[in-house]
C-alpha cells in the first residue's frame, strides 16, 4: 500500500513538473511582450528595458523557468493587472467559495446518483428503473448552464423562493450562504448525478448477478445487507473511478455555474481574467487548477486502492 502511494505521488510530481513547464512556455507564447504589457502603453523603451531586467526577462529561458518555479513555490504569483492586488491573495479569497460549491455539488451527485443507481438496479425493469434511466439520460443531455438558467427562471423569477444570484460567506451568515448555494449546487450536481447513476446502476447490476451475492443470499442475510454490503461494496470501485473521471468536468462545470449565479469564486475569476487579458491571474489560475486536479486524482487513486484489496495488498497498479 505504501509503495503504491509513493509511486502515485512520484508520478504526480512528474505531472506537476511537466504542467508547470507547459504553463511557463504557454505564457511566453502569449501575444505581446510581457514587459511592454506590464509597463503600459506609453512607457519609454528604457522603462520597458528596466522592467525586463527587474523581472529577469532578459535571462535565458531555463533560468527564467527556475525563477518562476522559485516564485511560485514561495507563493508569489505576481500582481493582478486589473487592481494590482497580489494574485495569491485573490486566490485565497476565491478558492474557498469554489471548494464549497464543488463539495456541495459532489454531495448532491453522490446522494442522488448512487441512490438512484442502486434503486434502479434493484428494481430492474420496474417503474423506478425507467424513471431513473430517463433521469440519467436527461441529466446527461441537458447542459448545466441551461439548467441553471431554468432554475433561476423558476425559483427566483417565477416563484421567488430563492435569491437569483450572489454570495454570502458561510462564516458571515450560514443560512444566507446555503440559501444562495443550494440552487447552484443542485444545478452543478445534477449532471454528475446522472453520470454516477448510470455507472452505479450498471455496476450494481453486475454485482447483483455475481456468484458472491448468491452466496450472501444463501447465508440468509436480509436483502438490505445483501444489496447494501455485498453488492454495493464491490460497486464502489466503479463509483470512485467515475468520480475521478468526472473531476475535470466538475471543475469546468463550477466555472460555468459561478458565471450564471454570479458567485465570486475561482471560475468567475478565471473567465473574468481571460476576458480582461489578466495574464498573471490566468497563469496562476491554470496552475492552481492543475495542482488541485492532480492532488484530487491522487486521492481518488488511493481511495480506489483502499477499496480494492488486490491493489492494497499487492502494491500493483490497476488490474
Amino acid at each position: 500500500m505504501l509503495w503504491f502511494i509513493l509511486r502515485r505521488c512520484g508520478s504526480a510530481v512528474i505531472v506537476l513538473f511537466v504542467s508547470s513547464v507547459l504553463i511557463f512556455l504557454g505564457v511566453r507564447a502569449l501575444p505581446g511582450d510581457p514587459a511592454t504589457v506590464m509597463a503600459g502603453q506609453e512607457a519609454s523603451p528604457e522603462a520597458i528595458e528596466a522592467i525586463r531586467h527587474e523581472f529577469g526577462l532578459d535571462k535565458p529561458l531555463p533560468a527564467q523557468y527556475l525563477d518562476y518555479l522559485g516564485q511560485t513555490l514561495s507563493g508569489n504569483f505576481g500582481r493582478s493587472t486589473q487592481d494590482q492586488l497580489p494574485v495569491a491573495d485573490i486566490l485565497l479569497e476565491r478558492l474557498p467559495v469554489t471548494l464549497e460549491l464543488s463539495v456541495l455539488a459532489m454531495l448532491v451527485a453522490i446522494v442522488i446518483g448512487v441512490g438512484a443507481g442502486i434503486v434502479a438496479a434493484v428494481r430492474r425493469g420496474k417503474l423506478a428503473d425507467y424513471l431513473a434511466t430517463a433521469f440519467g439520460l436527461a441529466g446527461l443531455s441537458v447542459p448545466h448552464f441551461w439548467l441553471g438558467l431554468l432554475g433561476i427562471l423558476l425559483f427566483a423569477v417565477t416563484w421567488r423562493v430563492l435569491p437569483a444570484s450572489g454570495y454570502v460567506p458561510f462564516t458571515e451568515d450560514p443560512v444566507q450562504n446555503l440559501q444562495r448555494m443550494i440552487l447552484p449546487a443542485l444545478v452543478l450536481g445534477t449532471g454528475f448525478a446522472a453520470i454516477l447513476m448510470r455507472q452505479t446502476r450498471s455496476a450494481m447490476l453486475g454485482a447483483l448477478s455475481a456468484d458472491y451475492v448468491r452466496t450472501a443470499r444463501s447465508k440468509g442475510l436480509p436483502e438490505a445487507k445483501v444489496v447494501g454490503a455485498h453488492a454495493l461494496r464491490n460497486s464502489l470501485t466503479t463509483v470512485v473511478t467515475v468520480l475521478g473521471l468526472q473531476l475535470g468536468a466538475l471543475i469546468s462545470g463550477a466555472v460555468v455555474t459561478e458565471q450564471i449565479f454570479v458567485i465570486p469564486g475561482f471560475g468567475k475569476l478565471t473567465v473574468d481574467a481571460v476576458l480582461t487579458r489578466n495574464y498573471p491571474v490566468i497563469q496562476a489560475v491554470v496552475l492552481v487548477t492543475v495542482v488541485g486536479y492532480v492532488l484530487v486524482n491522487l486521492l481518488v487513486d488511493i481511495a480506489y486502492a483502499f477499496l480494492n484489496p488486490r491493489i492494497r495488498l499487492s502494491g500493483g497498479g490497476h488490474d
Binding site: W146, G206, I251, S252, V274
Partner: protein, 281 residues
C-alpha cells in the same frame, strides 16, 4: 458470413429498439436543421426594430431577441456552428489520436508506458483549462473551441486505438500473419483499423454531444464563438439578461442543445449495445 449480411443483421437488431431509433431521428433532424435550416429561415442578423423581445408568433416562430432578430433563424444558424464544433473537434481528436494510439500499441517497450501515463493523467483533465489557455493565446474563437475540445477528446481516442492494437495482436490469425512476415503497415490497415471502427464510432457518439455542450458552454462564457455569430451559447448569454422579460429566449437554445445531445446519447447507447456486446448489460 459476408460483410453485407453482417451489417444487415446489425441494422435489424438496431431497428427493433425504440430508444436508439428515436436518437437517430433526433440526430438526423439536428443535422438537417444545420444543413438546410439556414437556407430557409433567412438572415439571422436582420433586425426588426418594431419587434424586439417579441414572444413567439406566426412571423417569428420562436420570438425575437433584444435587437429584434428572429430567434428561429439564429437557432438554425447556431445548429450549423454546433455541428461544426462537434464534427471538427471529433475529427481532430481522431486524426491526431489514432496514429499516437497505433504507435503506442506497436512500440510497447519504451513509448507505451509514457503515452499511457499521460493519457491516464489527462483523461479527466478539465477541458475548460485548455480552453482558457487557448482563448488567452489565440483569442476567443470557434478555432480555439475546436482545438480545446479536440485535444480534450484525444486521450480517449488514443486509449481505444491502443487497446485494439493490443487485442488484435493477441489474435491467432494476426500472430500467424506476423510470423509470415507481414509488415506493421499491413497489420495496421488489414486488421487493426477495421477493428477500431466500432469502438471509435461509439466514441464519436460520446464526443460529438460533449463538443456541442462544450461549444455552447464556452460561447456562453464569452470564451468561444463571438457575437454577432449566432451560436446557441451566445444566444443564452443574451437570454440571461432578459430572463424575466423574455424567458422564451432561454428556452429554445437550451432545448435544442438538450435534444441534439439526447439524440447522440440515445444513438450511442444503442450502437454500443449492437456493436460492442462486451460492454452491454
Amino acid at each position: 458470413m459476408t460483410e453485407v449480411m453482417r451489417r444487415r443483421r446489425l441494422w435489424r437488431r438496431f431497428r427493433r429498439r425504440p430508444m436508439p431509433m428515436a436518437g437517430l431521428v433526433l440526430v438526423v433532424a439536428f443535422v438537417l436543421l444545420a444543413l438546410i435550416g439556414p437556407l430557409v429561415t433567412g438572415d439571422p442578423a436582420a433586425q426588426d426594430y418594431m419587434a424586439t423581445l417579441a414572444p413567439p408568433s406566426p412571423e417569428h416562430l420562436m420570438g425575437t431577441d433584444d435587437l429584434g432578430r428572429d430567434a428561429f433563424a439564429r437557432i438554425a444558424h447556431g445548429a450549423q456552428v454546433s455541428l461544426q464544433a462537434g464534427v471538427l473537434s471529433t475529427l481532430l481528436a481522431m486524426v491526431v489520436g489514432i496514429p499516437i494510439g497505433l504507435v503506442a500499441g506497436f512500440y510497447r517497450r519504451w513509448l507505451d508506458p509514457i503515452v499511457m501515463r499521460l493519457v491516464d493523467v489527462t483523461l479527466a483533465f478539465p477541458f475548460l483549462v485548455f480552453a482558457v489557455g487557448l482563448a488567452a493565446i489565440i483569442g476567443p474563437s470557434l478555432k480555439g473551441v475546436v482545438l480545446a475540445l479536440g485535444f480534450s477528446q484525444l486521450p480517449a481516442v488514443i486509449r481505444i486505438t491502443r487497446g485494439e492494437v493490443l487485442a488484435v495482436r493477441e489474435m491467432d490469425y494476426v500472430a500467424a500473419a506476423v510470423a509470415d512476415g507481414a509488415g506493421d503497415g499491413h497489420i495496421i490497415f488489414r486488421y487493426v483499423l477495421p477493428n477500431c471502427l466500432s469502438p471509435l464510432i461509439v466514441q464519436a457518439t460520446v464526443a460529438i454531444p460533449a463538443a456541442i455542450i462544450g461549444e455552447a458552454t464556452l460561447s456562453f462564457l464569452g470564451l468561444g464563438v463571438q457575437p454577432p455569430t449566432p451560436s446557441w451559447g451566445v444566444m443564452l448569454t443574451t437570454a440571461q439578461q432578459y430572463l424575466s422579460d423574455a424567458p422564451w429566449l432561454a428556452i429554445w437554445p437550451g432545448l435544442m442543445i438538450a435534444l441534439a445531445t439526447l439524440g447522440f446519447n440515445l444513438l450511442g447507447d444503442g450502437l454500443r449495445d449492437v456493436l460492442d456486446p462486451r460492454s452491454a448489460r
